[in-house]
Amino acid sequence: MREDLLKEQLMSYARSAAEVASQPGAAAIHRRARRHYRRVAALTVAGVLAAAGVGVGLGLGRDQTTPTVDQPSPPVTSPLPPASSTPPTTSPPATSTTGPTSTTRAPASARMPATFVASLGNRLAVMSSTTGRTVQTLVSAPQAQFAVGLSPDGATAYYSRLGPAACDQPGVFRMPVAGGPAVRIVDGESAAGPISTSADGSRLAYLTNVCGANDQVDLVLRDAAGALLRRWAVGPALSAARAITASLSPNGRAIAVTLFDELDPVGVRLLDVAHDAAVGDGRLIQAPDPGCKPVNALFQPGTGRLVMVERCLPKDPRTDSTPPRFTLVSVDPVSGRLLARGFAFDDHSGADLDVTTMDFDRSGRYLLYAVGSADPADSQVARPQTGTWRYGGGRPVRVADDRRSSGGERITSIGPTW
């Protein structure tokens, strides 16, 4: 079809609708706005009351609060990892590839890592966990963004270029965080998202980038030297279902893959590395709360629990303008049963927020996560929820927001890991 003809047809199609569309007066729009936000405020109050009930039920202290945001946000609930009053299911052992799920919390005495590594603007950088400032630049390239992973001891960074540049010279690289040359460990293939490492650092898992005519996304498992151990076809990048993140279990025997259907989260597939032949063979784990779907999931070091952020929508978003709600939950990877809740926040902005990446520190005590938005206005103003946050129970702390620095680069990091 000729381009000018297509454009004319599409324009005519849209214009014909615009001409007959009803347009209420501006006063009606203002009334609609007031109604919407009155309803949100009422639900916020209800959320606070419900959250208080949940907190008491879990026997948690009252000092657990929500992210520091400048909008109404119902406080929920417990720190994560919390002590669970009900032990998780550990049977049947034959189906558990993730290792034992511990009922004990990660060590409370664990010290928060002083730094994390993230893609920031056109750099891969080591950043301070307290100030968010760059401590050291590892790699820098114009127009570059990076997929990144870190060995459990924090000494080695694994990275790939993201975006179109990744396809010029695709590869996965390894370099010492303390400084030193980067070594290409994989040639001809790039990671499209976070590079997950097993607890002993011997294995890497990631989803591959789509380059050129190759429209296929694969999930790959490699050893730390880059040798291929397993490969699973996820499918065409533009097909209905796609995977967005992969997380290795602490023992390296299972991979949690978060799947989406177009823009809608589907669930988490738990692959048995030794036996499952396809991503679809993995056991499907859903968000524990009704009406919710997991948008990101990873294994917690130490406990082997599956920790996910679930997004909850009203039954009919078209008629119910309750904003999407995001909650951190911990589930037993064998039974899928809810074990604990962590932070929660609402997307009041209509900006289609998402928890794009997250990562535990080595102890499993602290979580780093990034909240992104599809809203173009983000490039112009910081949203209350977007940015990079750290969480160790209680109130999440934003370590980087998404305003632009004086140099014009975005401060929001991609794939923060520590």
């Binding site: 929508l313 289609d352 173009p376």
Partner: protein
């Protein structure tokens, strides 16, 4: 209401443009009106901030498109009904060509429709589409190419089907 200065003019000037674009994305005028009005309501509430943006209309369109995605499943079901029974009487100015286009658009993946609408209906250059969707330019070009190819095939199929009927 001083903070709302300029909103009414902005709404009057841009509403029909946005509703047309959302209609091209959804294929349902009533839903398009609904999500567009919701988006303007949000803009009204945050107008003090949004008025300072370079392109407030881009913000409204983004919010409306996000709402539209939430109702995509519903739209898909609706398109299924449409394929079986034909369009309801309030679909604007239905001609054979427009119905072909309507059906063909409905069969595209939302991300393909979105690129088509932003580029051809909102008339944004490809680099601006990439910026607004936060996608690499190559991805936008690839989606546009796939969308055009699929659309051409589907419109062709529809016409062939009619001719053979």
């Amino acid at each position: 209401m001083a903070e709302l200065a300029g909103f009414d003019e902005f709404y009057a000037a841009s509403y029909r443009r946005v509703v047309g674009q959302v209609f091209a994305l959804l294929g349902d005028l009533h839903e398009a009106e609904d999500v567009t009005q919701d988006a303007f309501a949000k803009a009204s509430f945050h107008w003090a901030r949004i008025a300072a943006y370079d392109q407030p209309e881009a913000w409204v369109r983004r919010v409306a498109f996000n709402h539209a995605y939430n109702s995509t499943r519903r739209a898909r079901r609706w398109l299924g009904v449409l394929a079986r029974h034909g369009p309801p009487p309030d679909v604007p100015a239905v001609t054979a060509d427009r119905l072909d286009l309507h059906r063909a658009l409905g069969r595209l993946a939302p991300r393909h429709r979105e690129v088509l609408v932003l580029h051809y209906v909102a008339e944004l250059p490809l680099d601006e589409v990439a910026r607004q969707l936060r996608l690499p330019l190559g991805t936008v070009k690839s989606r546009l190419h796939r969308a055009r190819t699929a659309l051409a095939e589907q419109v062709g199929d529809e016409r062939e089907g009619v001719a053979n009927a």
